[in-house]
């Protein structure tokens, strides 16, 4: 929302503080002023209003003319190539020292120059060159009644050319429909500056206009009263569509609107002043003079001012005439009733629509207009009549405009002011301050709230209908806070007992696991929680297991990730362009359907760690990743895991991977990447091994696995032994079964196919030696 200094000055007496100070004030009391600037800061007083008193061709150049300009006393000779100038016109004259902008927006300073032997003492300018709009076609012809301003600087006559404009982001004012107009913003500024605002004379809700006959047979039928609390119309004739007054055009430009013609500009001006969107229909384009407010029919077609077709539904509200929609209510006008240069009879509409309907409709059709922006916030229906009065007054500045119908006002349930009881003590309790009651009362009065003292109960405050955001006592606390100044509150830390807060074990475990993986040489990766079909398929996962987004940003982000692996593989591939090998891990949630897809998705936290190596034996890299899992397990003091073969996720190599069990619980997978997946990701010479764990299942066991064993202080026997076994586990079991508690340590020295060499550490005592002999006997028998 833009705030125009010249505009708000209509309502604020006296001199406003400097722009920067006012920005600071507004930021502290209303919402952050995101920026402020002076329009055409470069424009100076060297551009004056002058009259063309003679024109003759340049003797040496066909396309140039020599003009004599006058301020009433002095004359200047100016050379011009413009074709739209005539004797007697009033134009802007830039004298030496004036700054103008080029069509590209660069600035240049005017000097006296010679054009083919003729001196030009200055330059006549276009509107664009003096920052008065976008028109670059020819010289800006000023109104003929500006004769009285001859010789005066342009910026004195049109101060809005150098308007100061502050801007607050719309979303910061979401709750304040009153601040979507200059009047409401002026009220805020008055309260902030502690001055009394001048309320404009049209601001009374009662009005009885006097139409001249013959009346237009205007009728309205509100068929969807629930969606349209108020609908007021007035017909005008003797309309002459022309340009708006220059000051009005400049104000519209200040707040970011493009001037169009006197009718459209008037409705826009009213919207920008009061926040009440207005609409004007060309009455002669209507089939009959009955206007219907109704829900759209399913599939009904509406053609907007932009000539686009919109297919409507029963949830849209339309303004219709003779069965045809002529406007999408509160959002957009229709092409079939648009005002044009030939319009002579118009119907002005000032209405109020139910906010949710407008919002839904505008979003559905992608038509978020200045009007819908305001209606969706919940406008005060009592603005309609002041808005109509102001529109009429503005149109009459440039056009005769006879009232051609009585005021027709459908307003079955007028909205009245509400009251809220408030105790000053409550305000101080919430704010934590010691603000005096009189200070609070003064703030309320400046905001146009009625303040009535109630004995022992504080105040009864009357809330004006333009402040729908003030609903509860707590809302009034904010009004005190922002105008009193939050920075004036004494800072005080809350008191609390010294009881320790509960410890979140899951959080601690999470941090510990990440730290551990990093210390094992793995780099942590954060990938998006979204994934695309392409990555899923590359990892041999079926997209149908993934939960699709209704509104993805791109196909690559179309699903909630059902696994961390596809994205982590992509990250590995990305980094292998810069590194010989990578070790990566990720800890994040994955998302999967419950048995019933309408239920909240399951979202377990997973850990995936992967490592890559070139030119490595399968067994080596397998033992490397398994070793990492083992040390991870030990350090987190987890009870031992078992690796079993069984069903695996499709990205694991079926013969080189296993399921990780903790007790009876399947808790993850470990192994090598499936060769097809490796191919899909173009890993080439790089072998990838990884493990994947369900951290939610794992976390409760962290710290549970460790028992204390007294160290064995006796002598230790260190022996190697070779034996045949089906696999390493069986080899261990064979030895362990016989050596029983003599065995202190067992490890694999080496193996060739199914012959394993074990390194053993035994308690050195007679019993151990007996067992050892027994073991040798058995092995010799078997081989």
């Amino acid at each position: 929302m833009k705030i125009s200094q010249t505009w708000i000055s209509d309502f604020l007496p006296g001199q406003l503080p400097p722009a920067e100070q006012l920005a600071e004030k507004l930021s502290a009391s209303l919402a952050e002023v995101s920026n402020w600037q002076e329009r055409n800061a470069w424009l100076n007083e060297k551009i004056i209003v002058a009259k063309i008193i003679s024109l003759r061709p340049h003797p040496q150049a066909d396309h140039l003319q020599i003009a004599q300009l006058s301020n009433g006393q002095r004359h200047w000779q100016v050379i011009s190539a413009a074709t739209n100038i005539r004797r007697g016109q009033i134009v802007p004259l830039a004298l030496p020292g004036a700054t103008v902008q080029t069509p590209k927006g660069d600035l240049k300073t005017i000097t006296a120059r010679e054009f083919r032997g003729q001196i030009s003492a200055g330059m006549m300018t276009s509107a664009q060159e003096v920052g008065a709009g976008s028109d670059q076609q020819g010289i800006w012809i000023l109104p003929s009644d500006w004769e009285k301003h001859l010789g005066q600087p342009l910026i004195k006559i049109l101060p809005a050319l150098k308007d100061v404009v502050w801007e607050i982001e719309n979303k910061a004012l979401t709750h304040r429909p009153d601040c979507f107009g200059q009047l409401g913003l002026a009220r805020e500024i008055a309260a902030s500056l502690k001055i009394t605002m001048k309320v404009p004379p049209y601001f009374q809700n009662h009005w009885q206009p006097h139409p001249k006959k013959p009346w237009l047979p205007l009728q309205i039928q509100v068929k969807a009263g629930d969606l349209c609390p108020r609908y007021a119309v007035l017909a005008l004739r003797n309309i002459k569509v022309t340009a708006s007054p220059l000051w009005l055009q400049q104000r519209l430009l200040s707040v970011g609107l493009r001037p169009i013609n006197n009718i459209v500009d008037a409705t826009n001006y009213v919207m920008m002043e009061l926040g009440q969107p207005m609409h004007a229909f060309d009455a002669q384009k209507l089939t009959d003079k009955t206007i219907v407010v109704r829900r759209a029919r399913e599939g009904e077609i509406f053609v907007g001012l932009n000539q686009r077709r919109y297919q409507l539904s029963h949830d849209d509200l339309v303004i219709a005439n003779h069965g045809q929609p002529i406007a999408l209510a509160g959002i957009f006008g229709g092409e079939n009733s648009e005002i044009d240069e030939k319009s002579q009879e118009i119907i002005l509409e000032a209405a109020n629509f139910q906010k949710a309907t407008i919002r839904r409709s505008a979003r559905r059709h992608g038509l978020r207009t200045d009007a819908s922006l305001r209606f969706e916030k919940g406008l005060d229906p009592n603005l309609a009549i002041p808005a109509l009065k102001l529109t009429l007054a503005l149109i009459r500045l440039t056009s005769p405009a006879t009232i051609a119908s009585p005021l027709i006002d459908h307003y079955p349930q007028p909205v009245k002011s509400k009251t809220i009881n408030l105790h000053p003590q409550f305000v101080n309790q919430i704010l934590g301050g010691k603000i005096r009651a009189t200070t609070m009362a003064a703030i309320f009065k400046r905001l146009d709230l009625g303040v009535k003292k109630k004995r022992g109960l504080g105040w009864q405050l009357t809330i004006p209908t333009f402040r729908p955001d003030l609903k509860n006592p707590i809302d009034l606390v904010e009004e005190v806070g922002r105008f009193y100044g939050y920075h004036r509150l004494p800072l005080q830390l809350p008191q609390r007992p010294l009881r320790p807060t509960p410890l979140n074990r899951a959080w601690q475990n999470d941090q510990q696991a990440r730290q551990l993986l990093a210390s094992l040489g793995f780099d942590e990766i954060y990938n998006y929680s979204f994934v695309g079909q392409q990555l899923l398929t590359a990892a041999r996962l079926k997209p149908k297991i993934a939960i699709p987004l209704r509104n993805p940003l791109s196909p690559a982000l179309a699903y909630l990730a059902p696994s961390l692996v596809p994205s982590l593989l992509a990250t590995a591939k990305l980094n292998l362009a810069n590194f010989n090998q990578v070790r990566l891990f990720s800890v994040a949630h994955v998302f999967r359907y419950q048995a019933n897809q309408q239920q909240m998705p399951a979202q377990p936290k997973m850990i995936v760690a992967l490592l890559s190596r070139r030119q490595v034996k399968t067994e080596t890299i397998f033992r490397q990743i398994k070793g990492h899992l083992e040390i991870f397990w030990q350090r987190l003091q987890l009870p031992p895991f078992q690796l079993k073969s069984g069903t695996l996720p499709a990205y694991f190599h079926p013969g080189q991977s296993g399921q990780i069990f903790l007790g009876r619980q399947l808790i993850g997978y470990l192994g090598l990447l499936h060769p097809l997946v490796a191919k899909n990701f173009n890993f080439g010479q790089n072998k990838i091994a990884l493990f994947e764990l369900n951290f939610d299942q794992l976390s409760p066991f962290i710290g549970q696995g460790d028992k204390y064993h007294p160290p064995y202080l006796g002598a230790v026997l260190k022996i190697d032994i070779s034996l045949k076994a089906k696999n390493w586990r069986q080899a261990q079991e064979k030895v362990a079964r016989i050596l029983a508690d003599s065995l202190l340590k067992i490890s694999l020295r080496d193996h060739f196919e199914q012959k394993y060499t074990l390194h053993l550490e035994l308690k050195s005592n007679p019993k151990s030696r007996q067992r050892w002999q027994k073991l040798l006997r058995i092995i010799n028998q078997q081989e």
Partner: protein, 337 residues
Amino acid sequence: MTIAALRRQFQQELKKVNQDRQLEALRIRYLGRKGLLNRLFQQLAKLPPTQRRRRGQAINQLKNFFRQEIAARQDQLNQNLLTHLEKEKIDISLPGKKPKLGHLHPITLMKQEVANIFQRMGFEVIEAQEVNDDYHNFGALDIPADHPARDLWDTFWTREGFIPITHTSAMQNWIYRQRQPPIRVAVIGRCFRHEATDASHEHTFHQVEAVYVDHQVSVANLLATLKAFFNAFYHQELPLKIRPSYFPFVEPGLEIAIGCPFCHGRGCPVCQQSGWIEILGAGQIHPQVLKNGGLDPKKYRGFAWGLGLERLIMLRYQIEDIRHFHRGDLRFSQQFR
């Protein structure tokens, strides 16, 4: 063997010794428990007592002689070694061979740092549920469907109507229902906004939110608490700048800027010469929100405030592009530890 012969043999062998190892072997051979000298001592017992004494003295002399000779030779060897060390010079300017350590992601590091301060302040740290329903993300926070405030959060939806949370406030209702006041919780979580990405916008980001509910909780408490947080975070006293702001679930709603910790408010590139850094949204929890959470707003009040972790990191390290965080490029993330 005679004493004299043994002495000669020792002297000859000693001459050949030029390494510590050889000298030690020599020592053991002559002076060890089963050494040649001890063998001579053992033979003493067989001699008649008259000779025993003289011979014993002679062997002891020989033993002392061996000891002195060995010590002297050891000195010599040490001396040799010292001269030799001079020649063993290496290029100490060669680079070290680093063991390969991994790195935690900067967001994890910032989570830890922030959680640590909250825990010191007595807050319980919890993590946000990343996908939630409309009620928790909006409804419970007093943002019904078709409320224009929904524009403040561009939202992703799953086909079934669930929401990758737009803010950590989606946890508030759950927190109120799980606990009895006094409630002091810090929520850390990943949030999502449906918006196009560029150097300063990311659809996925991380927030931390403080929630405090008790009998008497005021705006003054809120301001003091978050000031204490930032003083701890930046290790310095920082002023606050307070703006009114609008979020439907707080009333009053505030936007807080802190004095720029990098230039002490003098103006620098980090604060864009303003001396201030806009850092968080805050406010008193709306009574309706407490009520939705099963708490009696007549008895309890609270405050909440939330801030973005990426922003804290970007400010500290002057990171130019928010997209680095989720790009997975190790050349970015290995710089943090």
